[in-house]
């Protein structure tokens, strides 16, 4: 079963899953969307997106297929699978636990 991921990796996974939950996207689209939605905070190291996508695909959380894209040629589109949707729920939950815990610590310390 999946290993507990460390914070950074887990965060990136969560971001990817959340981004494609709404609609299938290709790598470039995911990168742009994370960038714009996060207010350009997550702009650096776009390359690290691909190992993460790869990992998620291996785990069976996302599925990929080549489709024609708005970029003028075929791109690999990623879709959330049923298992991926469950994983997203789990990650969201643990993220909200973590962030509220962080919040508490920061406020009270």
């Amino acid at each position: 079963m999946p290993k507990p991921s460390d914070l950074i990796q887990g965060t990136l996974d969560l971001l990817i899953l959340k981004t494609i939950a709404a609609r299938p996207l290709h790598g470039w689209g995911i990168a742009k969307r994370i960038q714009s939605v996060s207010g350009e905070v997550f702009a650096i190291g776009q390359g690290s997106l691909y190992p993460a996508l790869h990992r998620l695909e291996q785990q069976g959380w996302i599925a990929a297929d080549w489709r024609d894209s708005e970029l003028g040629r075929a791109a690999k589109f990623y879709t959330l699978t049923r298992a991926g949707r469950k994983q997203l729920e789990r990650e969201l939950e643990s993220w909200s636990r973590l962030s509220s815990a962080m919040q508490l610590v920061i406020q009270q310390a």
Partner: protein, 883 residues
């Protein structure tokens, strides 16, 4: 489930490496292109745009590598590496590898053989469509039923889509193109017309006969032959359908050929010809088709769809109740369904019981081999510990170590299984080609199928896990710092779980040795047990006067002349005819009643084996006459009915062995006088309880099937040939079968027991070998563990004896525990054998104690070697411990 998907994806990526890489590169290229375009759009120069894109994306090649890492099938590659390492290690210690592989090959090979046989006898379905719906109908635990009963059952039952009857019968077949006019005696089936239809078979050539063609008695001369007979006897003649042959001198038309591999509905019996049941009177010489007192038909059927065994049994009970009510002879009849193929439950139950027992023993051998290997691995683990400790200190995960050790064990087990599998295949081939030395188409088809392969593979892996797990889990607890110094973190005093490997193994081995001794002794005892005849010095030839078209008068005449002629041959002391001889396959049974009985019911009847014999039969067979006289010319057809009975039947009929002059009754109310009493022998099986036997003079009770029997001082085989020659001179056309010695014929009766003794004997020897190697390994391990302590003792001046004592005390304790358990197990195991092996129950305690003592002695002998080595070691060296 999800784990499976991940696995499949990873396996796929193992083989599609380059394709995935190319795809990934396209993806990344597209991304970088978009970055470039954005940068250009933002007004950068071409070079600046490229540099910025590089920075934004990161190093492309490194990303590719990262992706490859993500999808790498880590553990598969690990297993490959571990297996390679295991193989290298095995090469490095050939003695260990050879011992281990040998025990594994023997253990796993024995299992494969035993399971193949078990599979063939009890699991493999007959080669017919939907074989699981075809069952046998048992008659109160007996095999056969009467044909009138069969007809009623067929018409009244509500649970069978088809209920058929069959019977094995010898036939004289002519006109198969083999040249010459001589008839071949072949074995066949008489079957009811719905037999093939009920089994759902399709002919490979021509057609089968139908229920309509099984109508008028002796008016349906049709035959169906088996595929094998077609190929071998008829040379695969493509125009076989419609061909004329002669069976028992009468023309028959061959209608078709049954499918390849089909050999009737009994596992061991391989008939060649199928003939409609209506031809029974012509085939067997006398008709029992309308006789409700003759129980000669075997009944099987195909259950209707959806009908369960319980429903079938309930319906059959209703039919049986009606039949009992209508025919007193059916008194007490119970009809039940049983698996088909082994004569209903009569053979099936003992076969299942014995097969299960042997399977269990085979598994115990494997278990003993596991304990043995675990011990050897642990002993060797002493050397491996430092190696493992180095790995742990270099950062190897504990789980990874366990995996490596398990891989090693399973690699070993699989290699052993491969070797064992080869051994098993060889043995099974021999078994498949083996033909019983009897006049009966007995064959075994024990060819291993997919199920056997699967079970062998599974047991190999299970074996590997079983013997590898202990040492592997121990490695997890390795404490690197101590191990590197050669220290153990555990004192020598306590008994650990693994110490019980030795007693477990000893107990198992004691059990195996006990069973093999019991079996061996049983065989010896049965060879000496009173058979009620002298098997040595007698020869026999079988004839069928019925098949040759003899009338009763002519047959009796010829018989007298043959006896006269044979008696004059040099070296012949006695010669006689009989319908059959005890312990041959052809046994008849009859019911008799005490004198004065008025109601001839089943409950009051006494069962006896039944023989029609000529004067001099007892002398020729070597059976002692205890009282009264043998038959002679006085006992003609016109004279009062007389009989000779054996001692057992005499006691049952008259309450005393001196029953000469007393009378008893046959079923039809006929009264018979006893004129002689002979010793009780064995009639159906060596292991049977005392059985009644009844002999009638052939002049009063004619039987067309006859065995000519002669006893003399000449070589038995020569005598058999001389007998045959004498008969040939009197009638050159008489078909002869079953020429041989009495001893040969007994081979069949001894067969199950011989098989048991050989199997169990092999297990016993295997067990002794295993216990020796296992205990040697364990004591070597135990001693090396205590090398330091012993070194100190010697350095402090302890003598040889004290040291040996301290070593042996511990091993002795373990041996004692094992021996105690072995005693209990041995008693249980010997009990299992009682049904197959003669006199298995006698003298058990002595045998069990002897077996346990033998295993114990072997154990101590095996322990002596390592113990002595300790004494010779230099105390300083063992204190330093450098391997």
């Amino acid at each position: 489930m999800r784990m499976l998907h991940v696995l499949i994806r990873r396996f796929r990526s193992l083989f599609h490496r380059t394709a995935q890489d190319a795809e990934l590169r396209r993806e990344i290229d597209l991304h970088v292109e978009q970055l470039l375009r954005e940068n250009r759009a933002a007004g950068m120069t071409e070079a600046a745009a490229r540099r910025a894109a590089q920075l934004q994306f990161g190093a492309t090649e490194a990303r590719l590598d990262q992706c490859r890492d993500e999808r790498r099938v880590q553990w598969i590659e690990d297993i490959g590496r571990d297996a390679g390492y295991a193989l290298r290690l095995m090469r490095k210690s050939p003695a260990f590898t050879l011992t281990a592989l040998l025990s594994l090959a023997l253990g796993l090979g024995a299992n494969t053989v035993v399971f193949s046989v078990y599979n063939a006898l009890l699991l493999k379905p007959l080669p017919i469509p939907a074989a699981d719906r075809v069952v046998f109908v048992d008659n109160s635990g007996r095999t056969s039923n009467s044909y009138p009963n069969y007809r009623e059952m067929r018409d009244r039952n509500a649970v069978f889509s088809s209920l058929f009857a069959y019977r094995m019968a010898p036939m004289a077949l002519e006109g198969n193109g083999g040249g010459g006019a001589a008839a071949d005696r072949v074995w066949g089936y008489l079957v009811s017309g719905n037999y093939f239809e009920g089994l759902g078979l399709k002919p490979v050539v021509g057609r089968f006969f139908t229920p309509a063609e099984d109508g008028q008695p002796s008016a349906s001369p049709y035959a169906v032959i088996t595929y094998e007979s077609w190929r071998n006897r008829f040379g695969g003649d493509p125009d076989i359908a419609g061909r004329q042959v002669r069976i028992n001198g009468m023309p028959y038309t061959v209608l078709g050929v049954s499918p390849r591999g089909f050999h009737g509905t009994e596992l061991f019996y391989w008939p060649e010809v199928f003939v409609p049941m209506a031809m029974q009177p012509q085939i067997e010489g006398h008709s029992w088709l309308d006789n409700p007192n003759d129980f000669d038909a075997w009944i099987g059927g195909r259950l209707k769809p959806g009908i369960t065994t319980a429903e079938a049994n309930a319906n059959l009970a209703t039919v049986a109740a009606q039949l009992v009510h209508e025919r007193p002879v059916n008194d007490g009849m119970r009809l039940t369904v049983a698996p088909i193929g082994l004569g209903g439950s009569t053979l099936h139950q003992p076969t299942a019981a014995f097969g299960g027992g042997v399977l269990l023993l085979a598994m115990l051998v494997l278990l003993a081999a596991c304990a043995n290997l675990a011990a050897l691995l642990m002993a060797r683990g002493v050397d491996r510990e430092r190696d493992l400790a180095v790995r742990v200190s270099l950062g190897a995960g504990r789980g990874r170590l366990v995996r490596q050790l398990l891989t090693e064990a399973i690699t070993l087990a699989l290699l052993g299984a491969a070797a064992g599998g080869l051994l098993a295949l060889l043995l099974l081939r021999l078994l498949n080609h083996w033909r019983a030395p009897v006049d009966f188409p007995i064959r075994f088809d024990v060819s291993p199928d997919l199920r056997v392969f699967a079970v062998s593979l599974a047991s190999a892996v299970a074996t590997g896990v079983l013997f590898g797990l202990g040492p592997a889990l121990r490695a997890r607890k390795a404490v690197p710092a101590l191990r590197l110094k050669g220290e153990r973190h555990r004192g020598p005093g306590r008994l650990a779980a693994r110490d019980f490997l030795l007693p477990v193994q000893l107990a198992l081995c004691s059990l195996l040795v006990t069973t093999s001794l019991v079996a061996g002794r049983g065989l010896a005892a049965s060879m000496q047990s009173p058979l009620g005849m002298q098997p040595d010095g007698a020869a026999m030839v079988g004839y069928d006067f019925g098949l040759a078209g003899y009338t009763r008068e002519r047959a009796l005449q010829l018989q007298r002349r043959v006896v006269e002629r044979v008696s004059q041959l040099p070296g012949i002391a006695a010669a006689a005819f009989g319908s059959s001889v005890p312990l041959s396959i052809d046994q008849s049974h009859t019911s008799v009643w005490r004198d004065g009985t008025t109601a001839f019911r089943n409950k009051t009847s006494l069962s006896a084996n039944y023989y029609d014999v000529s004067p001099g039969y007892f002398a020729a067979l070597g059976t002692r006459l205890l009282a009264g006289r043998d038959f002679d010319d006085r006992d003609s057809a016109q004279a009062p009915a007389v009989a000779v009975v054996n001692e057992t039947l005499a006691r049952r009929l008259a309450g005393t062995a001196s029953a000469v002059g007393r009378r008893f009754m046959l079923g039809k109310g006929e009264t018979v006088e006893i004129v002689g009493v002979v010793e009780t022998g064995k009639y159906n099986a060596i292991t049977e309880d005392p059985t009644g036997a009844l002999f009638r003079p052939m002049a009063q009770q004619y039987n067309p099937t006859m065995v000519l029997l002669a006893r003399g001082r000449r070589n038995e085989t020569d005598m058999a040939i001389a007998l045959r020659g004498a008969v040939n001179q009197l009638d050159p056309h008489l078909a002869i079968y079953g020429v041989g010695t009495l001893r040969d014929m007994l081979g069949f009766v001894y067969l199950p027991m011989r098989a048991a003794v050989i199997t169990l004997g092999a297990f016993g020897i295997l067990a002794l070998m295993l216990s020796f190697t296992g205990i040697f390994g364990l004591s070597a391990y135990a001693v090396s563990q205590r090398a330091k302590e012993i070194g100190i003792r010697i350095a402090l001046g302890a003598g040889r004896r004290e040291v040996l004592q301290s070593v042996f005390a511990r091993i002795g304790l373990l041996v004692a525990i094992g021996a105690a358990a072995g005693l209990a197990l041995g008693a249980a195991g010997a009990g299992l054998l009682a049904s197959v092996v003669y006199a298995a129950g006698n003298g058990q305690p002595v045998i069990i104690a002897g077996a346990v003592a033998a295993v114990g002695a072997v154990a101590l002998a095996a322990a002596y070697g390592p113990a002595r080595r300790v004494l010779r070691t230099d105390p300083l060296r063992s204190l330093r411990y450098d391997g």
